[in-house]
């Protein structure tokens, strides 16, 4: 009989996530899930390769836009506060 207690115990205590820029990286798995589900529901006929390519393209496009927005907003903040 396997002992699943350590696995279950991992779900009863939160991870230690600091409030620094590294915690922003948690948006990428979320973004990946959103792009995969969006493409999986949107495509008329599902081919694995096409799904992978379109998901990666959408993921990179949205990631690039978000990173660009972060840079622009930081620049504006820096200009105002300096």
């Amino acid at each position: 009989m396997h002992d699943f207690s350590p696995i279950l115990a991992a779900f009863t205590a939160p991870l230690n996530v600091q409030t620094d820029w590294v915690s922003m990286l948690y948006m990428f798995p979320l973004l990946a899930a959103i792009t995969i589900i969006y493409k999986a529901t949107k495509m008329r006929v599902l081919f694995w390769k096409q799904l992978a390519v379109e998901s990666v393209v959408l993921f990179l496009a949205v990631s690039g836009f978000m990173i660009g927005a972060v840079i622009v907003l930081n620049l504006i903040t820096w200009l105002i506060t300096s």
Partner: protein, 153 residues
């Protein structure tokens, strides 16, 4: 008479597809023979929801203390309601003291966002499955393209 009956059957079918898609993410698509979509939806949404629980602990699901987040979370599956009951009931430690599951700060935020978005994405998948069932879509659509693709490979 027959058309009334068939439209009632169609309505019942759509309700069943929606319910099954809610109970198990991806099962609605599986029911209408969209097997690939079903597998992708199940794996992706389950991974996202479990990641949220792992980051913020199971206490991110709480229908009393964080009711607004519970509304999108319950869209993932009715099983989330059972989990919330368990979280609300708390646990007993080794010394026999009654303890509560707690989560604060950034891990709690990230966990709630992950699980909430998983629920909202499942709503999208439920609507997709119902729409495909309404249109009569299933494995039949795109069969020619699939055979053509296999012929090339």
């Amino acid at each position: 008479m027959n058309s009334n009956r068939s439209s009632a059957d169609q309505g019942l079918r759509l309700i069943i597809v929606a319910l099954v898609a809610w109970v198990i993410p991806g099962a609605g698509h599986f029911l209408i023979k969209e097997r690939k979509r079903a597998v992708i939806i199940f794996v992706t949404l389950t991974a996202l929801f479990l990641s949220g629980l792992y980051i913020g602990s199971i206490s991110v699901v709480n229908h009393v203390n964080s009711r607004l987040w519970f509304l999108p979370q319950i869209l993932y599956s009715p099983a989330v309601g059972l989990l919330s009951q368990k979280v609300q009931a708390g646990f007993t430690d080794d010394n026999g003291n009654h303890m509560e599951y707690n989560c604060y700060g950034r891990p709690c935020d990230i966990g709630q966002i992950y699980t909430g978005v998983a629920g909202l994405l499942n709503l999208l998948c439920i609507l997709s499955a119902v729409y495909m069932a309404y249109c009569g879509r299933g494995q039949l659509i795109g069969r020619e393209e699939e055979q053509e693709e296999q012929g090339h490979a």
